[in-house]
Symmetry: C2
Subunit: 220 residues, 2 copies
């Protein structure tokens, strides 16, 4: 039995060309033959299959809510968790500098696997694999209670009160490329309320800072 | 002959359910029955079909370059131009407050049309329609000369010089929702070089400011 048999069974797709799946399970830390191009393709395939499923499953939902649902389904943390559950972490080939697969590596490999199924079996096979992996998660979504992200909530709160939008400023960036740590300050220009957030990307640090400002506004 | 016959011919898809196409050609200013949900779906379909085409057409291109190419193909201005060329502007149903279709309306309708083809005929039909509309544009791409956007270029320039990243701050927001005008300042924290940019979105104003900073750095 091949080492990928269990994953193929779980995705409902038996590869005609198994080298595609092996490629999808090879992180760039392993060398030039890696899963990055398949990840690019899989990102598009995943976005389309999830959009189709949400469109069909929630026929009365607005475009705005559908967009938020999709973002919640395909976000890195969610994909990494799904990938871990499918055993992608154990299968992922990586360089010696990467003893433990990071969440971003798992999420990228998950997308690459969908891309590989697409190349091997076409859109229908890829859609089936996406639903095999994410269908349960999608079925459990409550469309009326998709959490908006903190930046969006803060912006809507301020717009609703006719107040100026928050300003975000990068305070510091540390670490080498691909492993940077950002510190961002969020300031409300009219009241001067401010808070600092941290994260592995500027976007995440901004969300963290917005969350903290929301907390302070709640306390007012 | 139906009013959409020419568009259907150009896209290579004859609708079994023409009401789908009519829906795709109805802007929300016309009422509750509009193209927004189909636009959501079409955005995913377009992203997937373009990713597939780029993946196959440029087998040696890196993920980073593929991502930039895709962004250049699906950006609003490009889609609006394609839609105008296909006659979508003349077909677009809209409310009386919208005598002339704006570029964003054309781009959204183009996506909605791809979504409608997908619902009517499946992925293969939608892919064919995307290529009928965008294939010539994609074939003309020079993968080695995709212009990076100004923010990316500025960031890479600074990172290459081991300098801190630029900071962007919203200076003012004017106008009602959906027609806002943003003024953003871009500052280089180490040297204090700064410039102001304007645009119809925060993102566009940031790009404009980054472009101006690049211009000043070029002059140094």
């Amino acid at each position: 039995m091949s080492r990928t048999a269990a994953l193929e069974r779980r995705l409902g797709h038996r590869f005609a060309d198994r080298s595609l799946l092996e490629r999808a399970l090879t992180h760039r830390s392993r060398g030039a033959e890696n899963n990055e191009r398949l990840e690019f393709l899989g990102d598009g395939v995943l976005g389309c299959a999830v959009a189709e499923e949400l469109y069909r499953r929630f026929p009365l939902l607005s475009e705005g809510k559908l967009t938020r649902l999709r973002a919640s389904v395909v976000r890195e943390e969610a994909l990494a968790q799904i990938a871990a559950g499918l055993g992608v972490g154990e299968l992922l080939l990586r360089g010696e500098g990467e003893p433990v697969p990071r969440p971003s590596m798992l999420a990228d490999a998950m997308e690459a696997v969908f891309g590989a199924v697409f190349v091997d079996g076409g859109y229908a096979a890829a859609r089936q694999a996406v639903l095999a992996a994410l269908g349960e998660h999608i079925a459990g979504l409550d469309p009326e209670h998709v959490a908006k992200d903190p930046k969006t909530r803060l912006q809507e709160l301020l717009q609703g009160a006719h107040r100026p939008l928050p300003e975000y400023q990068v305070r510091s960036v540390q670490g080498a490329a691909h492993q940077q740590s950002f510190e961002v300050e969020c300031v409300l220009p009219d009241t001067g309320v401010r808070a600092t957030g941290k994260g592995g990307s500027r976007q995440k640090a901004e969300q963290d800072a917005a969350q903290e400002v929301l907390r302070r506004l709640d306390g007012e």
